[in-house]
C-alpha cells in the first residue's frame, strides 16, 4: 500500500454483496468485486459475504478462484467472512454437502444451519470483545462454531440450540469470522476491525 487506502475485495459470486460494498464505501473504501482469479491480484483484504455456502463453494471452484484464494489466505491475506463466508473460511464444515469445500483459513469447525430452519432465525444485541457497545446481530439460518483450534480467539458467543455456549465471532491472525450479518444491520465495526488488521 502506497499513499492510497487498502485494496479490499468482496467475493461477488452470490449473496448479499451489495451490503458489504456499501459498508466499505461508508469507510471510504471502493471495494473490488471478486469473480475471477485475476480479481485477487494485489488485494490487501477480502470480504466473503452471506449467501448459500453450498452454492458459493461450487461457484468458487468453477470460477477457478478457490485454489488461488486458498493460497493467498495461507500467505496471510486478511479476510472477514459473515455466515456463509464464515463457513467458507473455516477448516471444517459440519452438516454440509458431501463435496462442500472450505478454504481452511481459520482453525474452527462450523455447523451449518445450527439453529434450524428460517423460523428459528433471529436478531439480538450481542456483546463482542474489543467492540465498545453491543452489536445488533442478525442470525439467518446461522452456523455456529463447534470446535475452536489453538490460536483462535473467541470474540463472542451465544447460547446454542442445545443450551451450550457456542462461539459466533472468532479471530485467528488476520481472519475474522461471524455467524451473523452485521451488514444487514448496517454495523461496520467488524469491517473496521478488518481494516485495522491490514494496517
Amino acid at each position: 500500500m502506497s499513499g492510497r487506502g487498502p485494496l479490499v475485495g468482496v467475493l461477488a459470486l452470490q449473496g448479499d454483496v451489495r451490503e458489504h460494498t456499501g459498508l466499505l464505501a461508508g469507510l471510504g473504501i471502493e471495494a473490488r468485486a471478486v469473480r475471477r482469479p485475476v480479481d485477487l491480484d494485489e488485494l490487501d483484504a477480502i470480504v466473503l459475504p452471506g449467501g448459500e455456502s453450498t452454492t458459493l463453494s461450487l461457484l468458487l471452484q468453477s470460477a477457478e478462484v478457490f485454489e488461488p484464494l486458498a493460497a493467498r489466505l495461507a500467505k496471510g491475506l486478511a479476510a472477514l467472512g459473515t455466515c456463509a463466508g464464515m463457513i467458507l473460511l473455516a477448516r471444517e464444515v459440519l452438516d454440509g454437502r458431501e463435496d462442500q469445500r472450505c478454504l481452511g483459513a481459520i482453525d474452527v469447525s462450523v455447523r451449518r444451519n445450527a439453529f434450524g430452519r428460517q423460523v428459528q432465525s433471529f436478531e439480538a444485541d450481542l456483546a463482542v470483545r474489543g467492540i465498545d457497545k453491543a452489536m445488533h446481530a442478525v442470525f439467518i439460518r446461522a452456523p455456529v462454531v463447534e470446535r475452536v483450534g489453538p490460536g483462535v480467539e473467541v470474540l463472542a458467543s451465544v447460547e446454542g440450540p442445545d443450551g451450550a455456549s457456542r462461539p459466533v465471532v472468532c479471530r485467528q491472525g488476520r481472519v475474522i469470522v461471524a455467524s451473523f450479518h452485521p451488514e444487514l444491520a448496517g454495523d461496520d465495526r467488524l469491517h473496521r476491525l478488518l481494516l485495522d488488521l491490514v494496517g
Partner: protein
C-alpha cells in the same frame, strides 16, 4: 414475536419473525437460482447443481397447465421428504388468500411461503395477511402497484410473475421492465406527483415515498415465470432481477442436471457473456415452450 428473556451469554432478547429477519433470508439468496422440484431426488439434483433454494411442489407449472383442474398446496408428506433430502432452504406454495394452507406450511417450518398465482386462487379479493406469520412470504407481481400492495400486506420478497409453465421469457421481461421502469420514473417525481403515483398504483403513499427515495423496492426483487435457458437468466439479471426462479424449465428439459448447473453459472456471471456462452453449449433440448397467445389460462392475471 420474541422468544425468551435476556440470556446469560452476552445476547439481549432474541426477536424472531421480524421484517429484517424475513427479508434477510431473501437477501442471502440474491444472485442465485431457486428451482422447482417435485421429488426428493430432484431436490438433490438441484442442490448438487448449486441451487440456493428449492420450491417443493407436486406438479411443475407446465403439468398444472396440462392437467387443468384445481391446483392446491402440496401434500405435507412430500414437502417434508424434500426438506429431509436437502440442506438448502425449502419453499412451498399456497393458493392466493388461503391462509389455512399457509398455517400448515408454517407448522412444517418451510423457509419461505410462495403465495402463488400458479395455484388456483382461494380468495378473489384478498391476499393473505402475511404480517400474521413468522415464516416469510414471497408474492408475484406484474407491475409496481401489485408489488407494493403485496409488500404492504407483509411480503418479504417480490418475484415478477412472468407466465409460468410456458418456457417463454417474454412475460417475465414485460413484468420486470414494468416494475423497474416505474421505479426509475418515481425517483424523479416531485412530492406532489408522488401522491398521484400512489393513487395510480393503488399503493400506500409511505411505500411510494420510500421507493422514490431509494430507487428500489423495500424487499428483494426476483424474477420468475418462463425462464428456460442460461441466456434467459442472464437477460433478466441484466434487466435488474436480483435472483431467478426456474420452474418447469429445468426438469422438463432433456438433461436437467447440466441445465440446472448452467443456469446457476449464468446467473452468477450474468454480466460476462463469455461465461454464459461457455455454459450454454451442448445442454440438450430445452423444454418445448408455448406461445403466449395460444394459452387458455394466463396465470399472471390471478392476484389483485
Amino acid at each position: 414475536m420474541t422468544s425468551g428473556a435476556a440470556r446469560q451469554d452476552g445476547t439481549g432478547e432474541r426477536q424472531q419473525g421480524t421484517l429484517r429477519v424475513k427479508r434477510g433470508l431473501a437477501e442471502m439468496l440474491r444472485g442465485g437460482v431457486i428451482m422447482d422440484v417435485v421429488t426428493p431426488e430432484q431436490a438433490k439434483i438441484a442442490e448438487d447443481a448449486g441451487a440456493v433454494s428449492v420450491m417443493a411442489l407436486e406438479r411443475v407449472p407446465a403439468d398444472i397447465r396440462r392437467d387443468g383442474g384445481v391446483a392446491r398446496m402440496s401434500d405435507p408428506a412430500l414437502i417434508a421428504a424434500i426438506q429431509e433430502a436437502v440442506t438448502i432452504p425449502v419453499m412451498a406454495k399456497v393458493r392466493i388468500g388461503h391462509f389455512a394452507e399457509a398455517q400448515i406450511l408454517q407448522v412444517l417450518e418451510v423457509d419461505y411461503i410462495d403465495e402463488s398465482e400458479v395455484l388456483t386462487p382461494a380468495d378473489e379479493a384478498h391476499h393473505i395477511d402475511k404480517w400474521a406469520f413468522s415464516v416469510p412470504f414471497v408474492c408475484g407481481a406484474t407491475n409496481l402497484g401489485e408489488a407494493l400492495r403485496r409488500i404492504s400486506e407483509g411480503a418479504a420478497m417480490i418475484r415478477s410473475k412472468g407466465e409460468a409453465g410456458t418456457g417463454n421469457v417474454v412475460e417475465a421481461v414485460r413484468h420486470l421492465r414494468s416494475i423497474i421502469g416505474d421505479l426509475r420514473k418515481i425517483t424523479t417525481a416531485d412530492p406532489a406527483e408522488r401522491y398521484a403515483w400512489a393513487k395510480q398504483l393503488q399503493a400506500p403513499i409511505e411505500l411510494v415515498e420510500e421507493v422514490a427515495a431509494t430507487g428500489k423496492l423495500p424487499v428483494p426483487l426476483f424474477c420468475a415465470g418462463g425462464l428456460a435457458t442460461p441466456a434467459d437468466a442472464a437477460l433478466v439479471m441484466q434487466l435488474g432481477a436480483e435472483a431467478v426462479f426456474v420452474g418447469s424449465g429445468i426438469f422438463k428439459s432433456e438433461d436437467p442436471a447440466r441445465r440446472a448447473r448452467a443456469i446457476v453459472e449464468a446467473t452468477a456471471h450474468f454480466g460476462d457473456p463469455e461465461i454464459v456462452a461457455k455454459v450454454s453449449r451442448g445442454l440438450g433440448a430445452p423444454m418445448a415452450g408455448a406461445e403466449i397467445s395460444t394459452l387458455e389460462v394466463k396465470l399472471a392475471d390471478r392476484g389483485w
